[in-house]
Amino acid sequence: MNVLLHKGENCGFVKSDLKAKAALNHPKKPALKKGKSHTVFFANPPKIIGRMSVAGEKEGRGPVGKYFHKIVDDDKMHEKTFEKAEYDMLLAAINGAMESAKVKAGDIDLFIAGDLLNQITSSSYAARELSIPYLGVYSACSTLSESLAIGSAMISAGYYDKIMCATASHFATAERQFRYPLEYGCQRPPYAQWTVTAAGATLLSSEGDGVKITSATFGRVVDFGTNDLNNMGASMAPAAMDSLLALFRDTGTGPDEYDLIITGDLGKLGSDILRDLMREKGYALGQNYIDCGSLVYDVTQKCYQGGSGCGCSASVVNSFILDKLSDGSYSKVAYFATGALMSSQSCYQGETIPCISHGVILER
């Protein structure tokens, strides 16, 4: 009976005496079998030639605020609705990324984007302005890592030259869609998170100088049976664990071989849980593990466990992380964003929260 406990590779609760048995069954560095690996290695790694991050005023006051390229003073961006502001922000990020790489919209082959709104409207409206082929993707807060993974695969295969990946989220629009009206006086539990108002865009190219994307790990949907809409960190941590384990297994590496392992928006609680889960799997995530969600807000900003939303990791990666990669502080970074794939209906129908985590390896 106990041995069967190990059947699921994502089982997080291993008894120590069974660990040895498990290690025999699953050697730590298995030979890569085609079709079994969750990780794809790019023969022609695409380079990041342009990027831009746009953040709201509150995020601008956070610890990584000074790294953002643009901080908007008005959360509504002088528009009529918050939805319009979100898509303005996304467009600003895309245009900024094109400017920084000195390319025009016509030079870009494909635009991959997604956001949190129903039917990913912000991205589609931004694509309307660009008039280039568009691929809408949705995996909640891990949208940027998913689009980077898809884009890199397409470039590496030689189908495309330049691909723009972008995503945005907005506190006010997410709040209205997933929770309550803005002015409704409700208390949040201390394990809640705060949706980040930010957008990020990354321009990938087959040639040029810059940070390379060398491999991508596509995650599985993982559901550990949590159903608390406020406790996203606890829901998503198992997904991050699953994908990180897949990466370590597929590449035969351990956490120490990366200068930095970053997750998207687990928050303080979620990243603590991830550390625990990984420790139980025999991997110690040390000083080189950080979480964008717990990075983006200051303790004094009263954002509970930190930021969430797809703009969270998109803006931090496109500013702080890639800055540090470019100036040589880091040379190999694993970026694993996590997303919770529920809808507000599914939770009222008593469903639990399925989560996913896609990752890419960024190398200098």
Binding site: K76, P181, L182, E183, Q187
Partner: protein, 124 residues
Amino acid sequence: MMWWEYLLNYLIVFAAGGLICTIAQILIIKTKLTPARILVLFLIGGIVLQAVGVFDFLYKYLGAGISVPIIGFGASLAKGAIYLARTVGFVGAFAGGLVRTAYGVGVAVVASYLVTLFFAPKSK
């Protein structure tokens, strides 16, 4: 009434109102009930209190302490429904609750409509 009677009265109102809200807060912390469910729970509680005839007795002593929380709204609904049911008959039971609470609901709808015209929600 003497001044100290007023003082005592207000103290009782404050304590009663606070206590009722504290009970609801305990429910929030201890159980996973959402605010909407707790509101409905207390509302039905008020209806029951009125229907069994306890509410008027409580109101005499606690005043606004029990009528301002949603319990008072429930009691008001029940009082109206019972009153009309017994004076008008069968059909009165359906109208009574709304008739009695129409003042509050009416002003809430109109004021919400008006406030929408003048203010917009702010992102925090």
